[in-house]
């Protein structure tokens, strides 16, 4: 059993849990994830690690209440336990000295990107960070982003609209300055549609764009094949080959988005989860 040692509400329906799992904390690297099960009747659900403490043996992750399991997670308090907590899974994010790195974050990515940004900073990169959130009330985790980034762009949507536009407009401005103000790499951990749009935006500039994909997973250790996607015309499995992929090589975004939503109508209960204009709805 894996005890919960801390639970913080970061914004409405956004939570951070800290779980005691020394074996996971020992090996965690930026961009990796865990799979947890709450109890005997629970499902296996992946979450990207947002922080860890090897000495204390704890692992943090941030989640948004969207469905059955995340709602149940939101009720857990320190002292409660999880049945299973497996990780760190997946390959760590690629980190090197690239120069100027633009990252795009939304949702859980606002927290889960922090370890990657830290590692990029240590490698001496210049960091521009675009943070997307529906509104100021639902924004969280600003402090580490401000500390790590050379520039932070807050891309807040206006009520009910313009969420994606606020980010793409910011990105467009940066791309217009390229190559005078050169962008060497883009990393995105945000909604699937936004990652797709960003990949298409950077393609003409041949700026390497890494996307963090979160297809549906079951076992998460390379056995079930639920998380497969086509990258560079071959089937890859996000749990062992990813979750970070080159956005320009991902083919079949449409199918990927459809697969992502297979179970949405059953377990995603939240109203307004629907992306505008998404073919799946």
């Amino acid at each position: 059993m894996y005890p919960i040692v801390d639970h913080e509400v970061l914004a409405p329906r956004v939570h951070r849990l800290r779980v005691k799992a020394p074996v996971v904390a020992e090996k965690a690297k930026p961009g990796q994830f865990v799979i947890l099960i709450i109890d005997q009747k629970g499902e296996r659900v992946p979450f990207t690690i947002s922080d860890w403490d090897t000495d204390a043996g704890t692992v943090d992750f941030v989640f948004i209440e969207v469905g059955k399991t995340t709602r149940q997670l939101a009720t857990l308090q320190p002292g409660d336990t999880l049945l299973s907590f497996i990780g760190p899974l997946g390959r760590p994010a690629e980190v090197d000295h690239y120069g100027h790195v633009v990252s795009v974050l939304s949702g859980y990515g606002i927290a889960a990107m922090v370890p990657i940004l830290k590692a990029l900073k240590e490698k001496g990169n210049t960091l521009t960070t675009i943070v997307q959130a529906p509104d100021a009330e639902r924004l969280f985790g600003q402090k580490p982003l401000e500390e790590l980034s050379d520039t932070v762009i807050w891309a807040l949507g206006t009520k009910g609209d313009g969420m994606m536009e606020s980010t793409t407009v910011a990105m467009r401005k940066l791309l217009n300055q390229h190559p005078k103000r050169r962008i060497d790499r883009v990393i995105a951990m945000c909604s699937l549609c936004l990652m797709r749009v960003l990949s298409e935006m950077t393609r003409p500039y041949a700026i390497k764009t890494m996307v963090h994909l979160t297809p549906v997973m079951v076992d998460g250790t390379g056995m079930c094949g639920a998380c497969r996607l086509s990258v560079g015309r071959t089937n890859r499995f996000a749990c062992v080959h990813g979750p970070e992929f080159d956005g320009h090589e991902v083919d079949g975004w449409e199918v990927l988005m459809a697969r992502r939503c297979t179970y949405a109508d059953e377990s995603i209960l939240q109203q307004g989860f629907q992306c505008r204009g998404c073919s799946q709805w």
Binding site: L89, V218, T221, M223, V240
Partner: protein
Amino acid sequence: MTDEKETKGAPEKKPKLNLNRVEMPKQSEHERRHNFDEVALGYTWEMAKEEASRCIQCKKRPCQQGCPVNIDIPDFIAALQRENMEEAAKVLKRKTSLPGVCGRVCPQELQCENACTLNKKGAPVAIGRLERFIADWERTQGSATMPEMAPSTGKKVAVVGSGPSGLTVASDLAIFGHQVVLFEALHVAGGVLMYGIPEFRLPKEIVQREVQYVQSLGVDLRLNTVIGINYSLDELLRTDYDAVYLAPGAGLPKFLGVPGENLNMVYSANEFLTRTNLMKAYLYPEYATPIKMGKKVAVIGGGNVAMDAARCAVRLGAQEVYVIYRRTRAEMPARLEEVENAEEEGIQFHFLCNPTAFLSDGRNNVAAMELIRMKLTEPDESGRRRPVPIPGSEYILDVDTVVVSLGTSPNPLIPSTTPDLNVTRWGTVVIDERGRTSKARVWAGGDIVSGGATVISAMGEGRIAAASMHEYLSNGQKKIIPPSPQKDDDKTE
């Protein structure tokens, strides 16, 4: 149950041979289409006694030689004939810790029962059903018979993977007196016995009882621990462990590589079965894992896993279930018994055809598949008749769910983090005849070696490796000469 005896020309010897086996009762076809309860109901005491009485206790014991784990079959049947159940259970447990599993899922018709002397004249003794009967008797008794345990050797062994192969090695080495830690990546032990084989063929309670038995031998089970991630193989060898057995099992599922294969509602058999069996999606929403199922389900492949997937689909409410196989019924790798069960449950078999594309409904859900008819060629040098497509024979079959069951490739987690572990170009771990890998102090078996085989062959490989490991551990040597890394390995990339 009938007492007919075939009396041929020659006068029979004294103990008359009963050439008909006692049938095992099954749930009716109509009933079982709607539940996940076990299909085969097992013998009653009378049935078991009658079936046991058919064994002539021949001297040559061919059945035992036909058993990959060398169970003393004539002895447990003799104990049954004497109505000594405790003795029968004890004999069984000498060679297997998983009798309830083996009695249900072993292909006995190819092994012990195939070798049975009676098989030459009529039906062989139903050894599997008797094994199952004894295992079930012992389980309902509450207390399990314990084997004689050797005194502690002070040696420590890591077993990676708690499927049939790992459980066999863990129990063998524990009985030999070694300290065993059994690592499992999932949240429950049992491997394919839990995630793969459905409840209606192998109740999960039985698997868990047999896992508990292995634990009762002193095996330390560590769930939720992925070797290759939490600890590398080298870390295990460098730290606590004198030897390691690798049995991490199946890896990434294989696909056809045809257009549309990633459409929504195209599952791998592993995903489909894991959701259904391990996560109990058939009990959704009591269990949180859902499974989406359409009305017309196509299962691609002809193995036991394909049969399991097809039969799960029936129980999950599919109206029509097709098994699509590119060869003919005669070449199907699935057990005949499972094929018959599937047919009884209304599953339709489409032979000599192969999917060439999956078609979308316009919203990226699968709506149909294009198939091409196949024909078998004349046997080649290997004697195999290869299926080849018949040009221009493409046709469309409407389906809304597809389960691709074409086997798996080995999980790359351990090989990719262990550079000096020799693997074939298919990614399977290379071993010698005693289960040793190219790496000192490391043995391997099960699907990581075979690429995908039966429960009992994985157990057999475990039995051989455990003996070799025990020999090594008993010699007190720290160094062992591994088989030449180049041997058998010309195909390694």
